[in-house]
């Protein structure tokens, strides 16, 4: 492998056809002071139309312990599924967090530490983000508190062990520690509630700040190392792809893989591959959601962001892919979907894990259930096609994490007890009925 770890992240913001719709901030009561909770550099990375951002030396050094991540042609997988085209895999599971989440956790911990924050607090679904943040906090000498979706922690107790081993304090959400959980009326167990608990806990803890692993422009920027490396690696192999695929919870691994290809095509005037987001059919925000202003967590104090959403109040059916169980897509991914640059495919979890089994047997790499959705979408584009989506020259797919702590899901697959829970169309409609469409005027206060 001759490529180097990128020295800069690359932002897609300067190349959007239209600027992102502004967040709508909820009205707060008059009185009281104003506080800053986000490091300035992260704010700059979210807002400024700057293309290249230097990766700080301590973050680069940490990256070098697990990057560049491998890219290979999955030939035996191609044969097993009857693929018409080469399938190239970019694998992000070879670090202690087991996923791509460490790419942004390290950057965020660095910036918060530099800003004087002593403790980071977050919510996590599958536990990959929580583990990544625990590792990053350990590296930068910070305390870490994690609110993990309770049912997910119950299924994957070793996620909790790993986070605690890294020095984090781990709580199963909903807890009895926060008002937002107490007021949820037992409707909890969702990622937005876990995030809401973390927001509230951080706000009342001295020296602490809340941070989030996916969805914000800066986290997608940090993930651009995935696509930047992949483009170089494909060039080394003289390989060409016309479809780039990643799974989408909020969209950080998909954005990290796909947006450098978007940006390069926009900058050079070259051909852009199809950018294909693979989502869970039980959380179908990109295929069945609406483009509207919605909350990012359950506190009701977050800004309303323009996103494809199935409604932040929607009770998402249970699944093993906790990392995909988020009601909305990142505003950057949503805007690109709205502008026609992002295609989407919904995948059932049985189909996804079955594809994961084939991948495991042919590649001897165990993909996370979330990543299996991307592999299943890739298999569809490589064979029969998904609607009018087909790949003709080659596919690049991100396997965003490993599945060693998800073996319970694979056990159910082997036992034949794995099931899908399709969302109710009536419930989906009800959950988005009160949301303002993105093109609507802001409400005057």
């Amino acid at each position: 492998m001759s490529i180097q770890v990128p020295a800069q992240w690359r932002s897609a913001l300067p190349y959007l056809d239209e600027r992102l719709p502004e967040d709508r901030t909820p009205q707060t009561r008059a009185g009281g002071s104003v506080q800053v909770n986000l490091p300035m550099e992260l704010a700059r990375q979210s807002i400024q139309q700057k293309e290249f951002w230097d990766i700080p030396a301590p973050v680069q050094e940490a990256y070098r312990s697990f990057r560049p991540t491998p890219l290979w042609r999955a030939s035996r997988f191609e044969q097993a599924i009857g693929s018409r085209v080469p399938i190239w895999v970019k694998y992000e599971g070879e670090n202690i967090s087991g996923s791509h989440k460490l790419n942004t956790a390290l950057a965020q911990a660095y910036y918060y530490h530099k800003a004087g924050v002593r403790e980071l607090v977050t919510g996590t679904g599958a536990g990959q983000w929580g583990t990544a943040l625990a590792a990053a906090c350990s590296l930068f000498g910070m305390r870490c508190t994690i609110f993990m979706v309770g049912t997910s922690l119950e299924r994957k107790p070793y996620r909790g062990v790993l986070m605690r081993l890294l020095g984090a304090e781990v709580h199963a959400s909903p807890t009895t520690l926060t008002d937002v959980a107490r007021q949820s009326g037992g409707q909890g167990n969702s990622l937005s509630l876990a995030i809401g608990e973390a927001v509230e806990y951080a706000a009342r803890t001295s020296g602490a700040a809340f941070c989030i692993g996916s969805g914000e422009n800066y986290s997608i920027l940090h993930q651009s190392v995935i696509g930047l490396e992949a483009a170089e690696q494909l060039a080394e192999h003289e390989a060409e792809v016309d479809a780039v695929i990643g799974c989408v919870g909020a969209g950080s691994n998909f954005g990290g893989l796909a947006l450098p290809f978007y940006t390069e095509a926009k900058a050079s005037g070259g051909t852009m591959p199809r950018l294909v987001a693979a989502e869970s059919s039980s959380t179908p925000k990109l295929t069945k959601g609406v483009y509207a202003y919605d909350k990012t967590d359950a506190t009701g104090t977050s800004p309303l962001e323009a996103m494809y959403t199935i409604g932040s109040d929607y009770s998402i059916p249970d699944s093993h892919s906790a990392g995909l169980r988020y009601h909305g897509a990142a505003k950057l991914i949503s805007a690109l979907r709205h502008q026609g640059y992002v295609d989407a495919v919904a995948v059932d979890q049985v189909t996804a894990l079955e594809c994961g089994r084939v991948f495991t047997q042919t590649q001897t790499v165990l993909p996370a259930p979330e990543s299996c959705h991307a592999l299943a979408a890739a298999a569809r584009l490589a064979t029969s096609g998904a609607g009018d989506l087909r790949a003709e020259r080659g596919i690049l797919v991100c396997v965003s994490g490993h599945g060693y702590l998800d073996l319970g899901a694979y056990q159910q697959l082997l036992d034949g007890t794995l099931r899908d829970q399709a969302p109710s169309p009536a419930a989906l409609l009800a959950a988005v009925s009160g949301l303002a469409p993105v093109d609507s005027p802001a409400r005057q206060s």
């Binding site: 967040d23 901030t25 909820p26 009205q27 707060t28 008059a30 009185g31 009281g32 002071s33 104003v34 506080q35 800053v36 909770n37 986000l38 490091p39 300035m40 550099e41 704010a43 700059r44 807002i47 400024q48 910036y111 918060y112 530099k114 800003a115 004087g116 924050v117 020296g207 700040a209 977050s302 800004p303 206060s445």
Partner: protein, 93 residues
Amino acid sequence: MSVLKLDRGRVALAVKKVVIAESRLAISPDQVADDEPLNGASLRINSLGFVGMLIQLEEQLGVTLSDDLFVGRSFTTVADLVDVIQNHSEVSA
């Protein structure tokens, strides 16, 4: 980068213009007193909008605002913000 003490009048004018815009008011900067609360009867700045406002001020004044001046600190009046920007800005490279 080096620390630069900026002209207070220039900083105050920039701050007042930005807080007026953020509060969606149609008033002139000289109608905003230095001790005007940032989140009061007239100006309505909240924490979520505040960071974006700081980025605008950086661009307008050509300075870099250091993280350790802001994260975890509270600001009550227009003058609080003017003081920090005037005394602790670094000239952008």
